[in-house]
């Protein structure tokens, strides 16, 4: 797939999805309003894609779920890129035992079966760590908690890339000149190396968004991510699975939305990779 094509296809698809999640709430009914008279209703003029098992508008819930999923994904990918960049910079800059320890850690996390681990992390109760229960279960905290948990296991790709780029950058003249002028390690890393490794970070972060959305939706599907009444594409599918024999069509839309979003980010990341750093693989 050529760079411009995947870049355009991914970017366009993503733009379309973002527009839909922004414009949707203005035109669609309340996503949490139940109308028990039309449970599992077919598509109609009132309910564009029909209603779910509690009579809620599926199109409106899709849009709400999309907003939540995109926010969680953006937050998680940013956090993961941050963790990965710090670890990669330290590893590549200092080298030696620190490098081998950090890279062992990275390899270890990469090889783990992540979902079982995430299930246990997500099941831990913040209320038992001394957080007041009403704050611990509020929506912003739930979203942030999920983002932190997923970021804890998704920084590995960025870390490896940043380490590789740092290794080659730190031998360059401008870095050595800065060191000769007496710049401290933090200044060298932030001011002189980081700008050079920024584009692989952008690529890896974009590619990781798709992965993050898949993990988030899987956790929500299992009932451990975002919980109802807050709609997410994952927990909409949990509801759909229960009624798959009576209303099989309900399972189509939330999954198609996840699929389209992940595809968009993967295409975008691939396009960016070819455009920004074609020599990425050789570093």
């Amino acid at each position: 797939m050529t760079a411009p094509l995947s870049l355009w296809a991914g970017g366009g698809l993503l733009l379309l999805l973002i527009l839909a999640t922004l414009a949707g709430p203005m035109m669609l009914p309340d996503p949490e309003a139940m109308d028990l008279a039309v449970r599992l209703g077919s598509p109609s003029t009132d309910h564009l894609l029909g209603t779910d098992e509690l009579g809620r508008d599926i199109a409106a819930r899709l849009v709400q779920g999309g907003q939540v999923s995109l926010v969680v994904a953006a937050l998680t990918a940013t956090l993961a890129a941050l963790f990965g960049t710090v670890i990669g910079l330290l590893s590549g800059y200092y080298g030696g035992p620190l490098d081998s320890a950090l890279m062992r850690l990275t390899d270890g996390v990469m090889a783990l079966p992540l979902l079982p681990l995430l299930i246990i992390l997500a099941a831990a109760d913040p209320a038992q760590l001394g957080m007041p229960p009403d704050i611990a279960t509020s929506e912003p905290v739930a979203v942030a908690r999920l983002a932190v948990i997923i970021a804890c296991v998704s920084w590995t790709g960025v870390a490896r890339l940043v380490r590789g780029s740092t290794l080659s950058t730190r031998a360059r003249d401008h870095v050595r000149a800065a060191e000769a002028l007496g710049a401290g390690p933090v200044r060298v890393m932030v001011r002189h190396i980081l700008p050079d490794v920024a584009s692989p970070v952008v690529v890896a972060a974009t590619l990781s968004v798709g992965h993050v959305i898949l993990i988030e939706s899987a956790l929500s599907f299992l009932g451990l991510g975002l919980r109802p009444p807050l709609a997410s594409w994952g927990n909409m599918l949990t509801g759909a699975m229960d009624v798959v024999w009576t209303a099989p069509a309900m399972a189509i839309w939330p999954g198609a939305a996840i699929f389209a979003t992940v595809l968009a980010f993967n295409l975008l990341g691939e396009g960016l990779q070819q455009r920004l750093s074609p020599d990425l693989c050789r570093r």
């Binding site: 797939m1 050529t2 062992r104 270890g108 990469m110 090889a111 783990l112 079966p113 992540l114 979902l115 079982p116 681990l117 299930i119 246990i120 992390l121 099941a123 831990a124 109760d125 913040p126 209320a127 038992q128 760590l129 798709g210 898949l214 939706s217 899987a218 599907f221 299992l222 009932g223 994952g234 599918l237 759909a240 699975m241 798959v244 024999w245 099989p248 399972a251 189509i252 939330p254 999954g255 198609a256 996840i258 699929f259 992940v262 595809l263 993967n266 295409l267 691939e270």
Partner: protein, 322 residues
């Protein structure tokens, strides 16, 4: 020559033991902050028990000690093969896990074999002419496969083959109450294996394609052509053998991901495997089972990656020299 293997394998085993220890320590700590302390649950279930009884019970089970101390005690027992009792299934953890392990292994090995059997030829085919319609099609398929959510793919297969067409069962290990036959087992295996195989396919095809293209411009390929090797021989004996090396590593790294996929697949298809067991034990506050299950799953992926290293060693004589 096999002597050269002992050192790397021992060091990998040592690393694996360390990973398992660290994991058990962290997870043991996390268990303490999960809802549903066993004694609290016992108190809630029996109004005759008083707060004093609770303190005494905690002392009896050692729950009043700091968790680091409890972890050490757990470890000492685990080394002797004693993993405790599953509260949820009311039997020893080892007995609960054994059949689940067999079921998951069956699912994962079938899916991985089918996935590789389809993906590797696809990758080789696509790499023959980069940019051709065939290449674009394989790329598109690979993109779709890495972007699809496992549980949705499973649900869609259920909707199509179980609900609409009625050809295949929607889940379970075998027909409940029916006769236990090989045929019955196979048709129950079909949808979960197809789901898991389709999800892994894209990764493998993309890496195979990239590895073949990376080898295509090499000097040794030109030499082989120049000395008059047939195109098939160049492809199979020269290019493919070298291109398989990075793919072996990818497959090893993907075993952990495959297990994650298997967990979701098992949940969707009610397949009684390790993933579903871990999920059920976490949801049911069955800490002994959850911890042992997670460690076993991790051990499986670690063993998988060591096996892949051995395969690499077998395939690449350059590694042996080191």
């Amino acid at each position: 020559m096999a002597l050269g293997l002992i050192r790397p394998v021992l060091s990998r085993l040592g690393q694996s033991v360390f990973v398992l220890l660290a994991m058990s320590f962290i997870v043991y700590g996390l268990m303490g902050v999960m809802p549903g302390d066993p004694i609290d649950l016992m108190i809630a279930g029996d109004p005759r028990l008083t707060a004093e009884d609770a303190i005494r019970l905690k002392a009896v089970y050692g729950l009043d000690r700091p968790w680091t101390e409890r972890w050490l005690r757990w470890l000492a027992q685990a080394i002797q093969g004693e993993f405790g009792y599953s509260r949820l299934y009311a039997q020893p953890v080892a007995e609960t896990m054994a059949p689940a392990l067999v079921n998951t292994a069956l699912l994962m090995i079938s899916a991985l074999s089918i996935s590789l059997a389809v993906a590797l030829p696809l990758g080789v085919w696509a790499a023959r002419r980069p940019g051709s319609p065939v290449d674009m099609l394989v790329n598109l398929l690979a993109f779709a496969s890495v972007s699809v959510p496992v549980f949705w793919l499973g649900l869609m297969l259920i909707v199509l083959f179980a609900v609409s067409l009625g050809w295949l069962p929607a889940g379970g290990l075998r027909t409940v109450g029916g006769p236990d036959s090989l045929n019955d087992r196979l048709i129950h295996l079909a949808l979960p294996v197809a789901t898991l195989a389709l999800v892994g396919l894209g990764q493998f095809a993309r890496h195979m394609r990239a590895a073949m293209i990376a080898q295509a411009g090499s000097d040794y390929i030109r030499t082989a052509r120049a000395k008059g090797c047939s195109p098939v021989r160049v492809l199979v004996r020269h290019q493919l053998r070298n291109a398989l090396l990075p793919v072996v590593t990818i497959v090893a790294l993907e075993i952990g991901g495959l297990f994650s996929g298997a967990l979701v697949t098992e949940t969707v298809f009610a397949w009684p495997g390790m993933g579903r067991l871990i999920y059920a034990s976490v949801m049911g506050n069955d800490f002994n089972l959850a911890l042992s299950g997670l460690l076993l799953a991790t051990a499986m992926t670690l063993v998988g990656s060591i096996l892949a290293d051995l395969a690499y060693w077998q395939l690449d004589p350059r590694v042996r020299g080191r």
